[in-house]
């Protein structure tokens, strides 16, 4: 490893990149806390945009240098105690840097979009501060070269998700959404922490490279290896909103839309990047791989199905995120990390575009209920185009981003895991169906009272949306440059036809589905049962409330009862007995000397005989 000081300046100072985001948070403080009240909170937003722009520029400089010098590794000591070495490390590979550029660029785009979307928000500065924190943590996660640092920053992501979801904390739904987001992720994080601590204790180092070397030679008992593997995948599962920890993403849609854009595109990507980084450690844990596959498949198909039954505009797409990340999980579990990254990239951009379009609709109509929308097609041309491009980028039908990913993955897993290939095709079909259905409700049909006078959004929202549309259209070309070997089109024609066919079938099915504004629940009993099942997410929230939540609550009540009745009762009982016996003894006072002497004598005799019996 070359000396840090020998590297070009942009590489030497790469540690600044996460700090740009964090500094944005600090810079927003004067406005967020209300110390500066003049001229409104806008300056905080501008400062954040500025530091994010710096991060993007710095990142592209680093990419240029790394293309010339090859991958670099930087690390700085942080804390050391006995045999424990914790270092801050950055892995500057092209993959990581591409993810970094995705994160910082999306953050920039969302912040511009947010200026329009949150135009009248009184706590704009707080929002931008939180987004800065968010961005800093994400840039750190994708660059990090050590498991410890990844964990550290993933937890910060959990915290900032909590605060961003809870942004409008006065609303009751937001309160529960923020709580669920934090607790679900926290469950994953605590399991991940168990894995991190175990690896730290067993392997010594926390650097990924050392861990890979250790994993190759370590001879763990199967139970320990499997538990370790499960712990390591639990964190990414929570972050990527995978079954059974998928609830939070849907509820998180209560937060402001610009944050939803980030959450559905890049935050889940961060979780998946961490999964990719821990994947080589799971060699000895077949159980973990099986779980990954199962979780991915359930999330992919289940998420796509549940999305179809949603009447909320944002939720219809948040479940689709769960579904696509499920596909990524399958790809990772089947040892296809390259394709997984491409899929993450393509999905991230297309989903962000879709969410921008959704945000525009919500901003102009103040409505996100599908049954109350309609006829927006001609009224909001940029938004419509963005929706169409985003949707096309997401499904395998037109030759945009995800089509090539679908082709690659189906081609490569078809021989070994035909079932999983079928999952991909089914998900594609269901996603196309969902997108078509939502398109019909929102953009086609007759205008409703809420959409009759909807104008196109202002330039602050339109500019990022249009630019991102262009990028999504150009994505195949970018992917070609990112991953030249073996080329993104290296799959056979039948596979391509099957994928395009499934996409087309989905579109046709979506255009035939019966949509009724007034009867959003079907009148046929059988259809209605299925519809409710999906609309309520297979009743997962209710199942959780009845099982795990009830269990913890019961344990807590039991502990509290035990504390009050048994422990405290015992203590009070002893106190009461002493008081009562003292009261009783008080009455035995006679005032006669003889009685006292006699009592004393008897006591001494008893004491001595007891001692005699005890020791003799």
């Amino acid at each position: 490893m070359p000396l840090v000081s020998a590297l070009p300046l942009p590489l030497q100072t790469v540690w600044l990149i996460p700090l740009y985001g964090f500094s944005g948070m600090v810079l927003s403080l004067p406005w967020a806390t209300g110390w500066i009240k003049r001229n409104g909170p806008r300056p905080a937003a501008y400062l954040n945009l500025l530091v994010t722009l710096l991060a993007v520029l710095h990142g592209s400089l680093v990419i240029r240098e790394v293309m010339q010098l090859g991958p670099q590794h930087l690390s700085f000591p942080w804390f050391q105690a006995d045999d424990l070495q914790l270092r801050i490390g950055f892995d500057l590979s092209l993959t990581n840097l591409a993810a970094l550029e995705l994160v910082t660029f999306m953050s920039l785009v969302c912040q511009v979009f947010g200026l329009g979307y949150l135009d009248k928000e009184w706590s704009l500065a707080r929002f931008y501060g939180l987004v800065g924190f968010f961005e800093g943590a994400m840039s750190g996660v994708v660059l990090s070269s050590s498991l410890f640092m990844s964990y550290f920053l993933l937890e910060m992501l959990t915290l900032s998700t909590y605060l961003l979801v809870g942004f409008w904390y006065a609303q009751p739904l937001v309160v529960t959404a923020a709580r669920d987001a934090f607790l679900t992720k926290r469950v994953g994080d605590v399991l991940l922490l168990m894995g991190v601590v175990a690896l730290s204790a067993w392997a010594g180092s926390m650097e990924f490279n050392d861990l890979y070397a250790w994993a190759a030679t370590a001879n763990l008992p199967p139970l320990a290896a499997n538990l370790l593997g499960l712990g390591l995948i639990a964190g990414p599962m929570g972050k990527c909103a995978q079954f059974p920890m998928h609830l939070w993403l849907d509820e998180a849609m209560e937060g402001p839309n610009p944050a939803s854009i980030l959450r559905n595109s890049v935050v889940v990507t961060c979780g998946a990047v961490v999964l990719l980084k821990v994947m080589p450690l799971l060699q000895a844990a077949p159980l973990a791989t099986t779980v990954l596959l199962a979780v991915g498949a359930i999330s992919a198909v289940g998420g796509a199905l549940v999305a179809i039954a949603q009447v909320d505009l944002k939720r219809a797409f948040s479940y689709s995120t769960t579904s696509y990340l499920g596909l990524v999980f399958i790809a990772v579990a089947l040892q296809q990390p390259g394709i997984a990254l491409l899929l993450l990239f393509a999905h991230g951009l297309a989903k962000a575009l879709l969410f921008m379009s959704v945000g525009s609709i919500i901003a102009t109509t103040n409505c996100q209920d599908l049954t109350e929308l309609g006829g927006l097609g001609g009224r909001m041309p940029a938004t419509t185009v963005a929706y169409l491009v985003g949707g096309a980028g997401l499904v395998g039908l037109l030759p945009l981003g995800c089509f090539w990913c679908y082709g690659l993955i189906v081609e490569s897993i078809r021989p070994a895991a035909p079932l999983m290939a079928a999952v991909f095709i089914l998900t594609n079909l269901l996603t196309a169906l969902n997108l078509t259905r939502v398109f019909r409700s929102v953009f086609l049909g007759s205008p409703t009272p809420k959409t009759r006078r909807a104008p196109e959004v202002n330039w602050l929202m339109a500019t990022p949306m249009v630019s991102l549309s262009v990028i999504v259209l150009l994505l195949p070309w970018i992917m070609q440059r990112l991953d030249p070997v073996p080329g993104i089109g290296s799959f056979s024609l039948p596979v391509a036809l099957v994928i395009a066919g499934s996409g087309a079938a989905g579109v046709v099915a979506g255009s035939q589905v019966h949509l009724d504004r007034f009867w959003s629940r079907s009148r046929q009993q059988a259809v209605r049962v299925v519809q409710d099942l999906l609309a309520f997410d297979f009743y997962t929230p209710a199942i959780y409330r009845a099982t795990i939540v009830a269990f913890v609550a019961a344990l807590a009540n039991l502990a509290s009862w035990f504390d009050r009745v048994v422990v405290n009762g015992l203590v009070n009982g002893i106190g009461r007995v002493s008081l009562i016996s003292a009261e009783g003894l008080k009455l035995g006072v006679s005032g006669q000397m003889q009685t006292y002497v006699l009592t004393t004598l008897v006591a001494i005799v008893l004491l001595f005989s007891a001692m005699q019996w005890w020791f003799g």
Partner: protein, 506 residues
């Protein structure tokens, strides 16, 4: 130099107590704050003179007091007591600053506060068992008075409970110290460890058990914790800050210094049981905290849970886990002090701590936004979110203990996850939502309220504590460097003893 840390508060207490005339409460408070600032500066001077590279006691000073009894005035400081002395200095100052509402008998109140601060310093610095015991008991009576005179409605019950529990703890500790002197036949009461060559394991065990229960009451560990929630609920905010931040640390300090330090071999025998005890304590404290409605009780139960980590770390007794124990003591001191200050601020503004009543306090205009933001920092730190002191402490404890006691460590980590549950409940209920109070009559609907804004000056102690929590979290070496040599030495002690016992140190 160390004697100064005792003289400033104790003489100051005498001075305040003898203050002639009828001084204004604010005047007395200012004088006490000045004294405590001087004490904190003196502690910082000790830190400058302190050499972190030395593992054992340093800056020792002493005179023979009652030599025939074995009571000697010997002070010394090492990497275990140095951070605790600093925390004591800082939190005593915070407590004095937070004692704004004290109007009745200010001279006595602040004198007692100073006595506690001095006695705690003395206990941390004492190098003689009897001297430690004297200081340990000296802190008890003032605290009892502080609760029973300036406490809440049910203070008599809580204060008596506290007094009886802690007195029993003191008796057990004194009994163990005296028993040690009788069984070994020497009366020097020094801090040198006892080996099985001098004293049979059968005699070591009861002595160690007595010490364990004695300090276990103080820490407190399940099932001896029942005095703590009551004492906290009835104590005023500054007293709670001192109680949680400093006085509980006497228990864990005693655990490390005396239980482990005096009986390393017996300790190693008991360690597996102690780890389970720690896990039970952690889980019980966390679960009981979930069911609480009173914010202060919730924070008090969280102490039961979080102090359990120290026992776990001490049971594992590896270099990393012992360093983690010191980290946990310091960060729990800072975090729980912060939480109690904030709960106190909420109580002052709203007159209640009931989580069923409080709502939406984060409201920026009519609520307590700064208190709410700091509360989020505090609860996240307590839940072990990285970037704050709680995380690195827990990480060190778990990392150090996992190999020795995997099951107990994993259970304790579950407890760490439960912390997030109850503190999130606290923030969600009290600070999120719409700012309104629910009236007793459910028909009339919630009433909008406007809370008085708190002065920024009043919030300075909380801001400073939150700052310290973040600094330790981001720059753990600041604390680690002070303590590492000492904890490494303590972790190696059993090894050295074993080597000495087998006839050579190599």
């Amino acid at each position: 130099m160390l004697t100064l840390l005792l003289l400033i508060p104790l003489l100051g207490a005498v001075g305040l107590g003898l203050w002639p005339g009828n001084p204004d409460a604010a005047m007395v408070r200012r004088a006490a704050i000045a004294l405590l600032v001087v004490q904190l500066l003196a502690s910082l001077r000790v830190l400058l003179a302190f050499d972190p590279g030395v593992g054992g006691m340093q800056l020792q000073e002493g005179i023979s007091w009652l030599g025939s009894l074995g009571l000697e005035y010997r002070l010394g400081i090492d990497g275990l007591s140095m951070p605790l002395v600093l925390v004591n200095g800082a939190l005593s100052l915070v407590a004095a600053i937070a004692s704004r509402d004290v109007q009745a008998r200010p001279r006595l109140y602040f004198a007692l506060l100073l006595v506690i601060s001095g006695a705690v310093n003395g206990a941390f610095l004492a190098n003689n068992l009897l001297l430690f015991f004297l200081f340990y008991e000296l802190e008890l009576i003032p605290l009892w008075l502080l609760i029973s005179v300036w406490g809440g409605a049910n203070r008599a019950y809580a204060a008596t409970k506290f007094l009886i529990f802690t007195a029993v703890s003191g008796v057990l500790i004194l009994g163990a110290f005296l028993g040690l002197a009788f069984t070994t036949g020497s009366v020097d009461f020094s801090l040198s460890p006892v080996t099985s060559e001098h004293l049979a394991m059968a005699s070591q065990m009861p002595l160690l058990l007595a010490l364990l229960v004695g300090f276990g009451i103080k820490i407190p560990l399940f099932p001896f914790h029942t005095w703590l929630p009551d004492a906290h609920t009835e104590a005023s905010t500054p007293v709670s800050v001192l109680l949680a931040g400093v006085l509980l640390k006497l228990g864990t300090y005693g655990l490390l210094r005396f239980c482990m330090g005096l009986f390393p071999q017996a300790w190693a025998e008991l360690a597996p049981g102690l780890a389970i005890w720690a896990a039970v304590s952690v889980l019980f404290g966390s679960l009981a905290a979930i069911a609480q409605r009173d914010m202060k009780r919730m924070v008090a139960y969280s102490s039961v849970g979080h102090m359990g980590y120290v026992l776990l770390a001490a049971a594992a007794a590896t270099p990393v886990s012992l360093l983690g124990a010191v980290f946990q003591m310091v960060s729990h001191g800072l975090i729980s002090a912060l939480l109690f200050l904030l709960v106190g601020a909420v109580y002052r503004a709203t007159g209640t701590r009931d989580l069923e009543v409080l709502r939406g306090l984060l409201n920026p205009e009519r609520g307590l936004p700064l208190t709410g933001s700091l509360m989020i920092v505090g609860v996240m730190a307590s839940a072990g979110l990285p970037g704050m002191a709680g995380f690195i402490s827990e990480f060190l404890v778990f990392r150090g203990s996992l190999n020795a006691f995997p099951v107990a460590t994993l259970l304790s980590m579950v407890g760490s996850g439960l912390t997030a549950v109850y503190f999130l409940l606290l923030v969600n209920r009290a600070f999120f939502g719409r700012l309104a109070i629910t009236p007793r009559d459910p028909q009339s609907g919630p009433i909008d309220i406007r809370l008085p804004a708190l002065n920024l000056i009043d919030q300075l102690p909380s801001l400073a504590l939150a700052g310290a929590v973040v600094v330790i979290g981001l720059w753990p070496a600041s604390l680690g460097d002070i303590s590492e040599a000492a904890t490494n030495g303590m972790a190696l002690m059993p090894v050295l003893l074993a080597a000495a016992g087998s006839g050579g140190l190599g």
